[in-house]
Symmetry: C2
Subunit: 227 residues, 2 copies
């Protein structure tokens, strides 16, 4: 599903070049469950944005479902994203003038889904993340962990084939965090490819395959038997 | 230092009233080290904002260093905050057009500190949080955990007497997170009153006194011996 080959992403701030991604080569099969861990600033979010077609390499290639993505126009990337990818952002990126319900509904509105099916899908994911009684709250009327759960629900509402989760439990107590991970793992068992960036080692080690990043490089890539 | 008596904070969203703080009574001595834990949405940030003079009770009283705060004008609250309180926000609240250096420097600029002492204080806290080589980056050029560390540095730069930390390690790997907690605990040993909201039980249990909130109430308030 995902084939990154010698991907580089370099920033210039002042004098020295900063290698946010340094020669990253990585293949991920459909249906895999992968965790990505590593120190703050090691390139995890940059990697996820690249995989999620929100950013493009400076060099190297990225094949998504066999399609070479580096040369695609933005319109085509947007279509691929909309049809395939759900993204839980580390900073949530919610819309402040919309309620929780409307934020979650937004991808379906943009995809032209009819009102009735939108309503039932949004209700369903709101319940999955325990926010049924917060549907009408706007972001400034929600706690940090509730905002995180709205971001999670929004990523799930269109049943994406690829789910990218950037630290989805950082603002959640251990009970809510566990519930969220169980929801994501259930979706993975149903066939969704799941890539989870986390700082929580208890969560990271639940994945079948674990990647460790340091200074923009993939330092470790281990699989473990299921069970 | 802090005396909350029967403090209530109630929101109305649509029909039903929401008791974000429900009859909270709490006394905190100067120099204490307290953790506040509890489920997402239980009122921890609301409590911290109240203590930090960023919000006021709907009923009940709050004495800060013996001063009745409910009737103070905003100008006076701002002065008390500026002179006494450092706040690490759950959502960071950094200024996007300023660099990390300038964000951290801001409280000192507002307090009229001369340039030379500002520069050395900012350099010092940047090193304490491991961001010496990111000083000139703006928020959109920083990772999630780097943003969190800028927010931490900004709260420390004026050596406040009271430090309020709302989930200061949620975006940090366990190594960076531990370093941050050790910095905060060192400041507490030097006399700073430290109130730490956290979802991480390993961190929460390091405090001498542990508060648990549920549904806007203080459900538990335990002290343990030192050592
Ligand atoms: N302006 C508001 N209007 C309505 N409800 C609000 C408002 N602000 C907060 N709330 C509600 O008050 C409750 C307490 O919020 P608070 O931010 O204190 O929770 P918290 O314990 O910090 O949660 P978390 O661990 O998720 O950060 C939440 O259930 C939230 O939905
Ligand atoms: N636009 C940019 N310009 C310059 N440097 C950047 C930019 N965006 C990111 N960086 C740098 O690239 C590095 C990788 O950032 P990234 O956000 O991928 O880290 P991360 O592993 O997700 O960290 P965290 O665990 O703190 O979220 C960081 O050191 C950051 O300072
Ligand atoms: Mg990140
Ligand atoms: Mg909070």
């Amino acid at each position: 599903m995902i084939v990154l080959d010698s991907v580089n992403k370099t920033y210039q701030v002042g004098g020295t070049p900063l290698h946010a991604l340094d020669n990253v080569t990585l293949s991920i099969e459909t249906g895999e469950y992968l965790s990505v861990m590593g120190p703050s600033g090691s390139g995890k979010s940059t990697l996820l944005n690249m995989i999620g077609l929100l950013d493009h390499p400076d060099s190297g290639s990225y094949l998504f479902n066999g399609v070479a993505t580096e040369t695609l126009p933005e319109q085509e990337l947007a279509r691929l994203r909309g049809e395939n990818i759900g993204f839980i952002f580390q900073a949530f990126h919610l819309i402040n003038r919309l309620t929780a319900f409307e934020n979650i509904e937004l991808p379906m509105v943009l995809a032209g889904e009819p009102v009735k099916s939108r309503r039932s899908s949004v209700r369903q994911v709101l319940d999955m993340v325990g926010l049924g009684d917060r549907a009408d709250h706007k972001p400034n009327q929600l706690s940090g962990g509730q905002l995180q759960r709205v971001a999670i629900a929004r990523a799930l509402v269109m049943h994406p084939k690829l789910l990218l989760a950037d630290e989805p439990t950082g603002n959640l107590d251990s009970v809510s965090g566990k519930e969220v991970i169980e929801v994501l793992e259930q979706l993975n068992r149903e066939g969704i490819t799941l890539i989870l960036v986390t700082h929580d080692r208890h969560i990271g080690k639940r994945a079948n395959r674990r990647i460790r990043m340091v200074d923009g490089k993939i330092e470790k890539d281990e699989r473990q038997g299921k069970g």
